[in-house]
């Protein structure tokens, strides 16, 4: 039984956690996302999207679900875990957990570190912490919550610098440098109203969504479209590679180290030289995880998502490893 990937959404009050979650639920694009929120108070779901309401759970017509867990995350997780174990087909593709405004997402993320040794359960995908571009400095200086706000960033993979449209260039620059100190390993995504693609916030299942099976060497449009779906999301560039010959693990890891900071996500299924089964690789921010795929693969395929227009730099890292098969810039 596969573990459910979990994505933590942290950040202090007003940073835009629920706005981002609302955006995610509206643009799930076929992903079955279950969201745990603290309360329904600020979740704003169109009534015609709601298929059923049962206790503290809203089921949406697009296959997503939204559960209000209040202070009782333990029992919410136990209930979901039981549902999935009883019926693996009921497993969501992603579990997104909204941490409370003063919770340390790292503590909750621990739940995602057991999957290697237990059946099913949860597997950490990403820790995403939102920062309020206008009020971050004031929040950090608050005598009551300053330390709690600072602590939230320490293990962030991605920091969403939200309300960027309302901040002056100087305010944005200040926030950027503060975040660089608080979240040294994170990649920073500027946006407003949480307009980020699910392809950036969530890891993808492999390889179905990223690539069409055996469609010569062209990349499925579905995935790339989803990261630049019209006006809905911030623009990002992506590039996909493949290799029909097994890859040297060391060379691949070196290429990863050489990636520019503009890269925010990476994902792939890789056949390393001399290994009996393929490896699923996943990068969020600057953190790479590798885990065993179910079997060997003939063709290694991977994709990177980056901000800005650094396509040239993106190409450079993997030039000697695979063949660039597609790139998209919007």
């Amino acid at each position: 039984m596969a573990a459910v990937p979990i994505c933590l959404i942290g950040g202090y009050l007003g940073a835009g956690k629920t706005t981002l979650i609302n955006h995610l639920l509206r643009h799930a694009e076929g992903r079955r996302i279950t969201v745990f929120v603290n309360d329904f108070g600020s979740i704003n779901i169109d009534a015609d999207l709601i298929e059923a309401t049962e206790g503290n759970k809203l089921s949406l017509a697009n296959g997503c679900a939204c559960c209000a867990v209040g202070g009782d995350l333990m029992n919410a997780l136990l209930a979901l875990d039981k549902t999935v174990r009883d019926n693996p087909a009921a497993a969501p593709d992603h579990l997104v957990i909204e941490a409370s405004g003063v919770a340390d997402p790292w503590k909750i993320a621990q739940i995602g570190f057991a999957a290697s040794t237990v059946t099913g359960g949860f597997r950490l995908d990403a820790i995403i912490v939102l920062a309020d571009a206008l009020n971050l400095a004031a929040q950090l200086a608050d005598k009551y919550v300053g330390e709690s706000v600072a602590r939230q960033f320490a293990h962030a993979d991605l920091v969403v610098l939200n309300k960027a449209d309302l901040a002056s260039p100087a305010e944005l620059a200040d926030a950027q440098s503060t975040i660089a100190e608080l979240a040294p390993h994170a990649r920073v995504l500027e946006t407003s109203h949480g307009r980020l693609s699910p392809a950036i916030l969530l890891e993808e299942d492999y390889p179905e969504r990223v690539f069409t099976p055996a469609a010569s060497n062209t990349l499925s449009n579905g995935f790339l479209q989803s990261i630049s779906a019209g006006e809905a999301h911030e623009s990002y560039v992506s590039a996909a590679w493949q290799s029909a010959t097994p890859i040297n693990r060391q060379a691949f890891e070196e290429a990863l180290r050489a990636l520019p900071e503009s890269v925010v996500r990476g994902k792939g299924i890789l056949q390393f030289e001399g290994e009996a089964i393929a490896t699923i690789w996943h990068r969020v921010g600057s953190r790479d995880t590798f885990r065993d795929a179910p079997e060997m693969t003939d063709i290694s395929r991977w994709v990177l998502i980056a901000k800005g227009d650094a396509v040239g730099t993106l190409f450079a890292a993997f030039r000697h490893i695979g063949t660039l098969i597609s790139s998209v810039q919007r």
């Binding site: 333990m74 621990q110 290697s116």
Partner: protein, 547 residues
């Protein structure tokens, strides 16, 4: 008119200042008809004399202003604590002073389990009393190598498990969760700390401790413990007040054989499916259904963690051992907003604040709520109130905020507060009952059962003597008089529940709720207050003698 009953007693401590002592009390229809002596009572007319209390001392039934129904629920499982504790059936479970004692106790319980794979659950263990030594699978594997053995710690934030449990839970040396304690060889010790590590165990054996107190057995057990300790009114100081919870409480309290008035407090800010406005409306509606044994109207918020867990929010200079400041359970700004809603609805809000910084946040919220929506006699209460400063207490007095002080902490964790968490000066002024009274703050004192045992005379003993487990007197200047402590466990607690017009003293018109004692708490040496035997209770005129 029906006949009423006159109970002569060896002595009656009324807690009513206009008649502090009496020799007889008359009861009609569950209420006190009069208090005095036989001659002053017989004028009410036809009566019978019941002299079963002729050699007893009567006090107002004790009021526990901060307890949880879980106190009843945990007794479904084996007690593994360091201190002696008496169960609902009266069995005295001696405290376990070393790991071998724990193993022996658990083996006895294990032998009684009906099936070979049923998990063994225990509770109340606290490693803080064993110095650097930590219990491990080495010990719990001696209890069983075939069934899961799970020992919940006293704070409910940690547990110990045996190897069978670890195996079933998939916990190995490779498990990367921070809360999985490992030994020098990198193997898990079986101690699992906090949420994520405990999750792995609960997904295999179930989260049995969570709602152990909310079913009928748990509530009945709570009633039995109360009866043995002289308690006639107790809080469940955080309850979801769901339809199911309310129905169960109604069913149990409706039974005339249930010996306790129950005051459940609504879980503010934690309600997942309700806004504060909905929650407040629900309580207001429930108040309409209040009856003599089930009383709604209280709200509970939790602001910070615990001092001994280093999760309480402290003002400068922080923890004595240099630990980082604690955590907010809810964002102070959220609290401010939601508190206002419950305040405006006319409800009484009980706010868990262990650290002095958390108390600041609570007092700021109360002050701003009062400015926006002035209210008299709100009786908002700071719960635990362990680090209140003199200036905070002056502020509380001005705003009419009460303190329910966690006096039991002095005995159970006072030594740790002195040496580790707060250091000598602040440890000696913690749980400051004397300063609170001097500042004009109304006080109650409490057990937070099941965190410490439900036993108000013990709690009073703590507030009077301030002795730690090692025998240190922790801050002699905060000791209060026996009379003051007895007030705190009766009228004082009743005041914080807005029930002081009904209970808390023995005077005409009030409910006939008594604690039946075998000795006079005002006559015994103050150091023996905790040893005054309780013979039972009277609730609404119905006698519940301990069998």
């Amino acid at each position: 008119m029906s006949k009423f009953t006159i109970y002569p007693a060896q002595s009656i401590i009324t807690m009513n200042r206009s008649q502090p002592r009496a020799r007889a009390v008359a009861v009609r229809d569950g209420r006190i008809l009069g208090v005095g002596d036989f001659d002053s009572l017989k004028g009410w007319g036809d009566h019978v004399i019941d002299d079963r209390f002729a050699n007893k001392v009567l006090m107002p039934g004790f009021v526990e202003g901060h307890s949880h129904l879980l106190e009843g629920g945990v007794w479904k499982y084996t007690y593994a604590g360091f201190f002696d504790r008496r169960g609902p059936d009266g069995t005295l479970w001696p405290g376990l002073k070393n790991f071998d004692d724990v193993v022996t106790r658990l083996k006895e319980a294990e032998a009684k389990l009906p099936t070979p794979d049923e998990p063994l659950f225990a509770w109340g263990f606290d490693p803080i009393y064993f110095g650097a030594a930590r219990m491990a699978t080495t010990e719990l594997d001696r209890v069983s190598n075939t069934r899961p053995v799970v020992v919940m710690h006293a704070n409910f934030h940690l547990l110990n498990a045996n190897s069978v449990t670890l195996k079933k839970s998939g916990i190995t040396r490779d498990t990367q969760i921070e809360g999985v304690a490992k030994n020098a060889q990198g193997e898990p010790t079986g101690e699992l700390q906090e949420f994520a590590a405990m999750f792995l165990v609960f997904r295999v054996v179930g989260n049995v401790y969570f709602d152990a107190g909310s079913d009928e057995t748990g509530i009945w057990n709570m009633g039995k413990v109360a009866n043995r300790t002289g308690v006639t009114t107790a809080t469940d100081l955080v309850n979801d007040l769901s339809g199911n919870s309310v129905a169960t409480m109604r069913r149990v309290t409706f039974d005339e054989k249930f010996p306790l008035r129950l005051v459940p407090a609504y879980r503010g800010l934690m309600g997942a499916t309700e806004t504060a406005e909905d929650g407040a409306a629900k309580i207001v509606k429930l108040i309409g259904s209040n009856n003599e044994k089930l009383h709604f109207g209280m709200v509970k918020f939790v602001l910070d963690g615990s001092i001994q867990g280093f999760t309480a929010r402290l003002r400068w200079p922080g923890y004595f051992n240099g630990a980082a400041n604690g955590i907010w359970v809810v964002p102070p700004h959220d609290f401010l907003r939601q508190f206002q809603v419950f305040h405006n609805a006319g409800l009484t809000v009980h706010i868990h604040t262990n650290g002095d910084e958390a108390s600041d946040v609570a007092l700021d919220a109360i002050e701003s709520a009062l400015l926006a929506f002035p209210r008299w006699d709100h009786r908002h209460t700071l719960q635990h109130s362990q680090m209140l400063t003199a200036s905070q207490m002056r502020r509380m007095a001005s705003m009419g905020v009460a303190a329910n002080i966690f006096s039991n902490h002095i005995y159970y964790w006072g030594d740790q507060h002195y040496a580790l968490t707060l250091g000598p000066e602040r440890a000696e002024r913690m749980d400051p009952a004397a300063t609170a009274l001097a500042a004009g703050v109304r006080i109650a004192i409490h057990s937070d059962a099941p965190v410490t045992p439900l036993a108000p005379l013990f709690t009073a003993w703590c507030a009077v003597n301030r002795k730690t487990a090692s025998g240190r007197v922790l801050g002699v200047n905060e000791c209060i008089k026996v009379e003051q402590a007895l007030q705190a466990i009766t009228l004082g607690a009743a005041y914080t529940l807005k029930l002081d017009h009904e209970i808390g003293s023995i005077e005409a018109g009030k409910r006939a709720d008594f604690a039946i004692l075998d000795a006079d708490p005002l006559a015994v040496p103050p150091n023996e207050l905790k040893d005054v035997p309780v013979a039972g209770t009277v609730l609404g005129g119905r006698v519940f003698e301990i069998k």
